[in-house]
Symmetry: C2
Subunit: 344 residues, 2 copies
Amino acid sequence: MTHPPGSPPTSSPITGEAAIIDILAPLTARFPGAFALKDDCAALVPTPGYDLVLKTDAVAEGVHFFADDAASDIGWKALAVNVSDLVAKGARPRVYLMALAFPAPPSLHWLRDFARGLEQAQTCFGITLAGGDTDRRHGPLSITIAAIGEVPAGRMVRRAAAEAGDLLYVSGTLGDAALGLKLRSDGSQAAQWELAPDDALALVRRYLRPEPRLALAPVLRDHARAAMDLSDGLVKDLGRMMQASGTAAVVHAAKVPLSKPAAAAQARTPALLIDVLTGGDDYEVLAAVAPDRAKSFEQAAAAAGIAVARIGETTPRRPEAGRVVVQDHDGRQLDLVRSGWDHF
Amino acid sequence: MTHPPGSPPTSSPITGEAAIIDILAPLTARFPGAFALKDDCAALVPTPGYDLVLKTDAVAEGVHFFADDAASDIGWKALAVNVSDLVAKGARPRVYLMALAFPAPPSLHWLRDFARGLEQAQTCFGITLAGGDTDRRHGPLSITIAAIGEVPAGRMVRRAAAEAGDLLYVSGTLGDAALGLKLRSDGSQAAQWELAPDDALALVRRYLRPEPRLALAPVLRDHARAAMDLSDGLVKDLGRMMQASGTAAVVHAAKVPLSKPAAAAQARTPALLIDVLTGGDDYEVLAAVAPDRAKSFEQAAAAAGIAVARIGETTPRRPEAGRVVVQDHDGRQLDLVRSGWDHF
């Protein structure tokens, strides 16, 4: 590769690490502890009475995004996938560190667009760049972020805390990003699914620009027993929550919330249900709520302006912890060929 | 690449992300907030009255280590280069996040050895794994760590705080790793430099296993005006400190501390002085100390068991901030062809 993904070949490449730092330093403007990226480390003053919630997640070209995605979308996504985890734990995002690996010096144009996407995400998520590292190496462009949020002491919402009999909720709609990824890979499918151009675009946009459900964080802290974000597909991630909690789950496929475009596509191509249930990149919240908290959870979510849908319930570990059964309208078990994404 | 660096091809590859987590989870044993890597995030309870010091640094095969380095050495180095930064800021290491990118599933053998190196480093540095992320992608094996330490509130030692007239100190000895890297790349140079095998090994080991100067952290907090770790070569990193501080510096080449093997090599091949002054991977501390604190700094370092050597002094910004002049024994300015490592 002679120029980085998305950069017009006419735009001149960056010279020197200092030039990269100059473009990224404005992202630290609201955080004095970043010392404008002119020190070796950042200093964070913790809020008294709060725990810090820590997460690292990487995105790489060819795995999590396409080489020709807009740089601003890549920046947004790199940050969003980390913030999504913090939010699902009930945390408020604070700062992040970012390690960039470039196969070739990026162009000024590309890097400015990348920084613009990060800036937009920072503003939406209330998080600020604190520091970073930049390397050049062969291989794909990759962005590794470590994000730090905070929760009132002892209040991080756990993955392992679901109990048999809890009600299972998800935020927003599922499967949009999985369908968007299919369209991003092969645009001709839009016609196959008889999607209007705007609907196809909306699905692709959900793949490119995940939107962490920030307003749900305090609701989860107050009303959920367990929660996590959905990144590797509902069935796989729910299985992880059940495994960790020592429970099993039943999901009612008809109750899984679909966006209008996803519902339209699935009406034309019923097999897309598999993608909805097992496709990755949802970045919605999965929560287990005790039955006696269900009403208050639903009310608080509504007050926060976040749609939540009850999709199933947890059961005792039958026949084993982590088992997820998806039922159709008539209570028959769906046979899912695959459960979700695994890198290995 | 069909098997990861350093792994014997006979050792079977890991299957599934869960198997990787199983091998790494014991590294979290001393940190309950890691939830044994079975949650999506970690929870860190900050120590009241302390600030957190944040750093991220990545190491990649072919850039920071060799594909056939021992996995335990790779693990050690990935953690050491981050801890080195924390220590130079006066911080005590606490926890770290680790994002792994594998070009192919690692073997059990390789991953266990990698974890062993991390375990050794954790024990030496007093830091614990808090969480992580594992991806598979083409390109080099890479390890991106985000390390968190703590300092008493407001006491992080800055890079930008040197003043004209300060005395410049470095810890330990410089250039060992740069010479070790030359030997690691081409073993025949040991004969050229007339090095005893043990001496050659000692230099290579300094490249493979940097040793952050943990005991120096409180000394820096109490006595140094500015400090940073040396990772990209003395001349370049000192230039960065001077640039940030708005000062310049004079270094007396004869006062730069050399190990016995490095001194022996340089006696045979005087041009190696350039490598000592500009080679990377020292992971020693550079400190600017006010003249009236010099004696107490030296005494406290001695009491902590860390050798420090005074190598020069800061001057007003002449002709410009960031200028570093290296003088030989007779006060003549050395002409350095290059100043240090830059990825871009």
